[in-house]
């Protein structure tokens, strides 16, 4: 079991997985168990799950990739210009032990087509608090297509996918450190 470094709150049981769905879309999941909730069950708590994720993207890429928001949604830009991914407005949910912030993927250079989503969530189960980043039904432009040679997806497999996992790891650490601040 690998422990992640945090300031105020203990994270453990880091897990990451990825698979291609029959639809051709990808499902990527990163999870960690926290010793305490990192956000309260409220609109503000759900929104913070999303804000912190984009902060993590910004930090892992050293400011190279930033989120920009308008009234209609947001987009991830590279060096302030190229739109890597575009998103809908955040869909916030907080019911009982679950708090989440979901962004629908609407396009961008790294998406072959509109569709799929990124969901940032905190779920309480028994005495545990699970934090997760779940990408569903996302069709990456850089990944190998169904039936194509593996090497055609090297940019995704060796670049975008590990970067995404690194962002998730940083995201969980950021949530944990700010939760106890």
């Amino acid at each position: 079991m690998r422990r992640l470094a945090t300031v105020a709150l203990v994270l453990r049981s880091w897990k990451t997985s990825e698979r291609m769905l029959a639809s051709g879309g990808f499902e990527s999941t990163q999870r960690v168990i926290a010793s305490e909730p990192v956000v309260e069950s409220s609109e503000s708590g759900a929104r913070w799950l999303g804000i912190a994720y984009w902060q993590a993207v910004n930090r892992v890429t050293r400011g190279g990739v930033r989120a920009r928001w308008t009234n209609d949604g947001g987009r991830l830009t590279f060096l302030g210009g190229v739109s890597l991914l575009s998103f809908g407005v955040p869909e916030l949910a907080f019911t009982g032990g679950a708090v989440s912030c979901r962004y629908a993927i609407q396009g961008g250079l790294l998406a072959l087509q509109a569709g799929g989503s990124v969901t940032l969530a905190q779920r309480r189960a028994d005495d545990e608090v699970e934090l997760s980043v779940i990408v569903e039904e996302y069709v990456p432009r850089l990944a190998a297509r169904l039936g194509a040679p593996t090497w055609t997806g090297a940019l995704y497999a060796k670049g975008q996918s590990p970067l995404h996992a690194a962002v998730s790891r940083r995201y969980f650490e950021l949530l944990a450190s700010r939760a106890g601040a």
Binding site: A67, W69, T70, G80, S177
Partner: protein, 288 residues
């Protein structure tokens, strides 16, 4: 109850005094002499002087700390000294509660010196044995608020703006009246002692969206172009040229705009319930 308000002549302090005066014996603390007013006693004192702080706090049960030294060259050090003086004086005078207005985003590890100073001021105040109630707010939407008036001046004076990337940072501005009500509402509130609360407004927006909202209210349509290469120094010099805000104030403010300043919890809305003012309504009040 006797209450001392440090920073009483500031934007927030001025709005808070009328809310406290009907029910309390209010001592308003100012660095410069003020004429007497009914319902409030003014004391000339400087929080950076231990003797002054002790004199201003004498007999008080609750102390509001709304002081900051933004605009001074060494504002971080000055803020620390003043906070330490007031904390020590409060402990000596057996004050029951210190109420402090800090900044949302001040716990960001990459926070600007301005935001970091707000956090460190809170820590200095909390170092004494007196329970501190901290309200953390983003931009205050009100007349005289430096950050708000800077944004308004930009919208009013420039038909086109080349803006740095901070305009995409999300923030949750709060109306001056609302933060004042929150501050008054936690006074002597046992459930607030020793706790920190996020005081967010009812809407989350980026600074760009805020500019666009203000532009609509002012009947303008500025052209906004974001560029990633404008440094805080360049931006502050630019603001110094085109707005009434001096570079020494503009730079720490701009550096602070890089951090998201949004509420992460809503406990204050339960503790001090009332309907929050929309950004547009707060801005209209600020415009007069």
């Amino acid at each position: 109850m006797k209450i001392s308000v440090f920073g009483a002549t500031g934007v927030v302090g001025s709005a808070l005094l009328p809310l406290l005066m009907p029910d309390h014996d209010v001592v308003a603390v100012s660095r410069s002499a003020r004429a007497a007013e009914s319902g409030v006693r003014w004391i000339e004192a400087d929080a950076s002087s231990a003797d002054d702080a002790a004199r201003a706090i004498e007999g008080a049960e609750v102390v509001y700390y709304l002081v900051h030294s933004l605009g001074s060259r060494d504002f971080e050090r000055q803020d620390q000294i003043a906070a330490e003086n007031v904390a020590a004086a409060c402990e000596h005078a057996r004050v029951k509660q210190i109420v402090y207005l800090g900044g949302l985003g001040d716990d960001d590890p990459t926070a600007s010196p301005h935001l970091r100073s707000r956090r460190e001021t809170g820590e200095r105040l909390s170092a004494a044995a007196v329970p501190v109630t901290t309200l953390r707010a983003a931009m205050i939407v009100g007349k005289g608020s430096a950050a708000f008036e800077t944004i308004v001046a930009l919208v009013d004076r420039l038909p086109a703006m080349i803006t740095p990337s901070w305009v995409s940072t999300p923030t949750q501005p709060i109306a001056l009246d609302d933060i004042s009500r929150y501050l008054a509402g936690v006074c002597d509130n046992q459930a607030a002692l020793g706790k920190s609360f996020d005081a967010g407004g009812p809407e989350v927006m980026t600074y760009r969206q805020m500019m666009e909202r203000i532009a609509i209210l002012r009947g303008r349509r500025p052209w906004i172009v974001e560029v990633p290469v404008l440094t805080p120094r360049l931006s502050s010099l630019w603001l110094h040229l085109v707005t009434p805000v001096g570079a020494s104030v503009a730079r720490p403010l701009i550096e602070g705009l890089k951090s998201p300043t949004i509420a992460r919890e809503e406990r204050l809305r339960t503790l001090v319930p009332f309907e929050l003012t929309s950004f547009d309504d707060a801005a209209k009040v600020a415009f007069g």
